[in-house]
């Protein structure tokens, strides 16, 4: 597959994502945010970072970058769009995903290994996982508390669009296992069509055995199997 890995001013996980995808034999190219044409790419990654320094609100300025129109068009065509960390925040600001990411309830930045539970494995992003499987994926954010209006949360629950929840090692949900105060322990959500995923954890940081984990590769492999 040929991935566009979008870099906004302030993005920093771009190369991490590129390395993770290239290590799996995929094409991954860094695309500057001023690019308005993503034709020719099979999928888009919006990586983590502090686009525009988080000024105003995380992702609030990046959503106006020219590339976001092209990202929307690609999403409409059913291609996979995956945002992690700041990429998730940008997708929410751009309206491609519902909800918003607020400041962690600890009011502190958190960088740590984190368990997440795969809520469904019949989706393009998790086809290589088992339903209910517990993955270990690092988190690294100060504003990752997922919030949405009650009716939105209800809809997300009823339509199976919550793809990952924070959990403990056994897959159990609890306040202790929720690192940021996200409602319903939400770590990642899908759009209605199932081809846009936003999540706070960083799969690209769990894609190399040298760094202590490879659970992130399950996500990349799923995308490649479904859309490749």
């Amino acid at each position: 597959m040929r991935f566009a890995v979008v870099a906004f001013p302030g993005t920093w996980s771009d190369w991490d994502c590129i390395h993770a995808l290239r290590d799996l034999g995929q094409q991954a190219e860094r695309v500057w945010h001023r690019e308005s044409d993503l034709d020719g790419y099979d999928g888009v990654i919006l990586p983590g970072g502090f686009s525009y320094g988080d000024h105003l609100r995380c992702g609030a300025i990046a959503r106006f970058s020219p590339v976001m129109q092209a990202v929307s068009r690609l999403a409409e065509r059913g291609r996979p769009v995956f945002g992690s960390c700041n990429g998730f925040q940008i997708l929410c600001e751009a309206g491609l995903l519902p909800g918003a990411l607020l400041r962690n309830h600890s009011l502190q930045f958190r960088c740590q290994p984190q368990y997440v539970r795969v809520e469904r494995a019949d989706n393009g992003f998790t086809a290589a996982c088992e339903g209910g499987q517990v993955l270990q994926l690092p988190i690294s954010h100060g504003e990752g508390a997922y919030h949405a209006a009650p009716d939105v949360l209800r809809e997300l629950e009823e339509t199976g669009r919550i793809l990952f929840r924070y959990c403990d090692e056994t897959g159990a949900l609890s306040d202790d296992a929720n690192p940021n105060g996200s409602l319903h322990d939400i770590a990642g959500v899908l759009n209605a069509q199932g081809n846009v995923l936003g999540m706070m954890p960083h799969p690209e940081r769990a894609s190399d055995p040298l760094l202590g984990g490879t659970d992130g590769n399950l996500l990349w492999r799923s995308i490649i199997e479904r859309w490749g």
């Binding site: 920093w12 502090f50 960088c111 690092p138 760094l211």
Partner: protein
């Protein structure tokens, strides 16, 4: 605060005609932190009175911060050369070390103590910003940050506020840049109460051909200022960093700058990319740090043996009505000066525009050796570059602090030994001491993984970084045992280097270079100067023993407050080279049944090993006793550890330092989530056997089938190797006197900082 500098050893021109020069009032001199004699020296060298702008420039460049007035005469002690070392100490913004395969590592450590005391968040944040610019000014990509922090006791609200603010500031800036913060220290002692220490270290990597000098280049080259607009923030920051803190210091808040990490990220990406793609457009690249445009441009000219002319009206401002004086001395952050070949000015401007950064020609390089400053058509400064950078140096009187001399002579054997029944409680208390307790509370607020190269994450003896395209990996750590240095400056400084070397040795890396941050109080006092001089000698001797030259560093003097001087704290940043990243060994025990061995001196220890220990501080409220060091043994154990890691004999390795053997065992057990059972004769002193801090020791674990091979290897290196126990169970059992559950130990160790600081 009039000082007689001649009495302190200043060599000033003959003052037969001091009245030749215009009178200057004390207040003006105090503002620029020049002594009256220094003012007269400046007049003599210029053969006229300086203009206002020149006076400000001289004050900044002759400040302790920029001019290294008290430390420069001591730097000759340091070993600075080696086959890997590519830069001379102090010549560039950071030191460069050949790491093989055409790659170089670039590193430096720097203090931001005074700003952090006044405004902890921004003070610490801009400290990170400054050290990162020093690295990319060399053309290197910053790949790791470390932070060495010292505060007063955390049961005091003011110290807590400083600690929480500093940690948030480091995270707030470093996280936004996308550079992982991979290590450092947090040490607490009453002496740091009024004057915290905030040292930031940055490590970068570059292809060797991408290294760029901070030189002005030949006459005719254009000087372009890139990045932030210039404002009034940080005026006199360099001079502020060179005086003692007192109750009026809070009023100097304008001397503290405000950081914009987003702008720095753009500047970093643009500069690193520019040097990588278009090295041929450039003559030099320089960070605009302390003393702003003054130090950056004058130092660039000095390196080129050239002159410069700066047109202050061309400098983009963020405030109206700024004077040339303010423009030249502003310490607005996130600015770089680029010396550009005249034909490529447009190209460079267009390059930076891709990042929405302005690059403005503000001056050019000249051949007359003068630093000239123009405000439109008015010449406001024209002083020789050599004169500006030739800060006076001082070698003041030196005398051993009698109080420390008395305390170092204290014999811990005169204290009653620890009762066996009190051993469990003593261990738990030590594990809960902020100096030993887990620093997870700190580093979980730092992104330590971005870049996906952090092979060994914080909390280990040293962090390990993979460098893509390089077979070897880099290990980094910092160490600065202030209490030991206060008691015995030479031996304490040796210990700082030896501990750092052992830390990189434990992960399997051979020490190759050192960067150091000298944090001391007012060197004009004999006891402080003695500490400074002797600890430089100690570091130098130890660096020589490890063949790890000093490549860069920073001196931060006048660290004292109304509460008194800080502990003398030379912080050593150590770089080690590891054969392959996948070999890296961690401190945590891994497998039940593995054999636990003690490398170095065995279980029984003399009472003297308790000198300067955390145990004496916690249990007896004492900072006393001898600081013993054995450089030959230190070198042997590091070589032994590296060989053992390279031959894949070790499952874990952990340095025995603060809290001694019992704490090292507890930390390895807690980290691995598995207990340990240690047997053996503790000798005559239980306290020393458990908590003595003799150097040159490490706790390792290995599978049973390689123990013989490991023992033979240790013997070859002349390192004692004692089998002391086995990994297993959920208890920590040591010599039948300590018997606690892993959960108890873990609770004491893990929850101390969250309880104090959340």
């Amino acid at each position: 605060m009039a000082l007689d500098h001649r009495a302190l050893g200043l060599i000033v021109p003959d003052m037969t005609d001091a009245d030749r020069w215009p009178q200057i009032d004390d207040e003006t001199l105090a503002q620029i932190a020049l002594s009256r004699d220094e003012y007269i020296r400046a007049c003599e060298l210029l053969d006229r009175a300086p203009t206002d702008v020149e006076l400000g420039m001289i004050g900044a460049l002759w400040s302790e911060h920029c001019g290294y007035k008290h430390t420069r005469p001591l730097f000759h002690h340091f070993p600075t050369e080696g086959e890997r070392i590519l830069t001379a100490l102090g010549d560039e913004n950071a030191g460069a070390i050949d790491i093989g395969g055409g790659w170089v590592a670039v590193m430096k450590i720097e203090s931001h103590n005074h700003p952090s005391a006044i405004e902890p968040y921004e003070g610490a944040a801009t400290g990170v910003g400054g050290i990162v610019r020093d690295i990319f000014a060399m053309g290197a990509q910053p790949v790791a940050l470390l932070d060495s922090l010292r505060f007063g006791p955390l049961d005091d609200a003011r110290n807590r506020r400083l600690c929480v603010g500093v940690v948030a500031g480091i995270g707030g800036y470093g996280n936004c840049l996308g550079i992982p913060t991979v290590g450092g220290e947090l040490v607490v002692a009453p002496e740091y109460a009024g004057n915290p220490l905030v040292n930031a270290m940055c490590l970068g990597v570059a292809r060797r051909e991408q290294l760029i000098s901070a030189t002005a280049g030949p006459a005719g080259s254009k000087l372009m200022l890139v990045g932030a607009d210039t404002g009034r923030d940080g005026l006199h920051g360099a001079t502020f960093a060179s005086v003692e803190l007192d109750e009026s210091s809070a009023e100097r808040r304008p001397a503290v700058q405000v950081g914009n990490p987003f702008l720095e990220k753009l500047l970093m990406d643009a500069c690193v990319g520019l040097v990588r793609e278009h090295r041929d457009w450039l003559e030099g690249l320089q960070d605009c740090g302390a003393a702003g445009l003054t130090s950056s441009t004058v130092e660039m000219a000095e390196r080129a043996s050239a002159g410069i002319i700066i047109h202050t009206e061309r400098v983009p401002r963020r405030e109206r009505g700024m004077t040339p004086y303010e423009v030249m001395l502003s310490e607005s952050q996130e600015r770089m000066v680029v010396s550009v070949k005249p034909d490529h000015v447009e190209d460079v401007a267009a390059w930076f525009a891709q990042w929405e950064l302005d690059a403005t020609v503000i001056g050019e390089v000249t051949s007359d050796g003068l630093a000239r400053v123009m405000d439109h058509d008015v010449k406001v400064a024209a002083a020789p570059v050599r004169m500006l950078t030739d800060a006076p140096t001082y070698e003041p009187a030196s005398a051993r602090d009698p109080d420390a001399a008395a305390r170092v002579a204290f014999d811990p054997a005169t204290l009653p030994d620890l009762a066996p029944a009190a051993a469990n409680a003593a261990l738990l208390e030590l594990l809960a001491s902020p100096n030993i307790a887990s620093k997870r509370w700190v580093w979980r607020q730092y992104d330590h993984q971005v870049g996906t190269n952090t092979v060994v994450t914080p909390g280990a003896d040293a962090a390990v970084l993979r460098i893509r395209g390089v077979e070897q990996a880099l290990a980094v750590c910092t160490d600065g045992p202030g209490r030991a240095v206060e008691l015995d400056p030479w031996a304490g400084a040796v210990r700082a280097v030896a501990e750092a070397a052992r830390n990189v040795g434990c992960v399997g890396a051979r020490p190759i270079a050192v960067t150091d941050c000298l944090n001391f109080a007012n060197p004009e006092r004999p006891a402080i100067y003695h500490q400074l001089r002797e600890s430089i000698r100690g570091m130098a001797d130890a660096c020589r023993a490890f063949d790890a030259p000093v490549v860069s560093g920073n001196a931060s003097l006048y660290n004292e407050s109304d509460d008194g001087p800080v502990l003398p704290t030379p912080v050593v940043g150590m770089l080690g080279l590891l054969a392959r990243p996948e070999l890296a060994v961690r401190s945590a025990f891994r497998n039940e049944g593995d054999v636990v061995l003690l490398l170095g001196a065995g279980l029984p220890q003399p009472a003297s090993s308790l000198g300067a220990s955390e145990y004496l501080a916690v249990q007896h409220g004492l900072s006393a006793g001898p600081v013993d060091v054995d450089l030959e043994a230190e070198r042997a154990i590091v070589n032994c550890l590296v060989d053992a890691v390279e031959t894949e004999l070790l499952q874990s390795a952990h340095d025995c330092s603060d809290g001694g053997l019992a704490v090292a065992l507890a930390e390895s057990a807690i980290g691995g989530g598995v207990g340990v059972h240690v047997r053996g004769d503790v000798g005559e002193r239980l306290d020393a056997a458990l908590f003595g801090e003799a150097g040159a020791r490490a706790v390792v674990s290995a599978s049973r089938d390689v123990v013989a091979e490991l023992s033979a290897l240790a013997e070859k290196h002349g390192v004692p190797c004692t089998e002391i126990g086995v990994v297993g169970s959920d208890r920590l059992i040591i010599a039948d006197v300590i018997n606690v559950t892993l959960a108890e130990a873990s609770d004491a160790w893990e929850n101390t900082l969250p309880k104090l600081l959340d």
